[in-house]
Amino acid sequence: MTIYLLCLALFSVGLYCVLRKRNIIKIIIGIGIMEYAVNLFFALIGYRAQGRSPIFAPDQAIRNMVDPLPQAVVLTSIVLGLSVTLMLVAVAIRIYERYGTFDITKITRLKG
């Protein structure tokens, strides 16, 4: 249970960064930290005490493997997190070209 609370603490650090910071790059960093926390949470759920990694050996019969299903889910999640981060960086560069600053309180004009 403590370890789930530590994972929640990491997620809250990222959430605080997204809510309170004014620089777009800091917001992207906060979203990245939240992604790391969520992937870690999935890997923690699938862990079995004294388990082994989910790879069979052709000559042994292994009984206690960790859960492979959350790991397959996290594999997809890492790639999607990467594509979201790249898209955010592209939009941030466009905003810098248009307004000359990364500060989100100065991006107020809606007309193109």
Binding site: I93, Y96, E97
Partner: protein
């Protein structure tokens, strides 16, 4: 930043890149193809292949790297892999568990590898264009 990104980095970095480029590419292909036996798989191998291209671009500068790896060829590879994925999506719902040790990782690596490199080129060119117009 300090170095001018048009020309790339110093002579030591260029020589080391020339020596290790083949190993990084080979490692990426190895992880892609041996995904069904040891950890790895298509996506990790594709990202490593993209990292080898990015390595070339960081060390030699934008123009020299783009002369070797032309964007139309990369777009052809990405589109071909996407079409093979589509063909698999039409075949799979018929319920057969098919031979997926080679086709699926290769398609994944072919989409992920050149795709991420094209993204890197687009973002770096975008920021460079902005720097030149300031």
């Amino acid at each position: 930043m300090g170095t001018n990104s048009e020309k790339g980095m110093g002579v030591i970095v260029k020589t080391v890149t020339k020596l290790t480029l083949g190993f990084i590419l080979l490692y990426g292909i190895y992880i892609t193809l041996s995904g069904h036996i040891s950890p790895g798989g298509g996506f990790a191998g594709g990202v490593i292949i993209a990292l080898s291209f990015v390595h070339v671009m960081l060390a030699f500068g934008k123009d020299a790297a783009l002369k070797r790896l032309r964007p139309p060829g990369l777009r052809l590879v990405i589109s071909g892999a996407a079409l093979v994925f589509l063909a698999m999506a039409i075949i799979v719902p018929q319920g057969r568990v098919f031979d997926s040790e080679v086709i699926v990782p290769l398609c994944e690596a072919a989409i992920v590898g050149p795709g991420l490199f094209v993204i890197f080129v687009a973002l770096v060119l975008l920021s460079k264009a902005d720097k030149d117009s300031e």
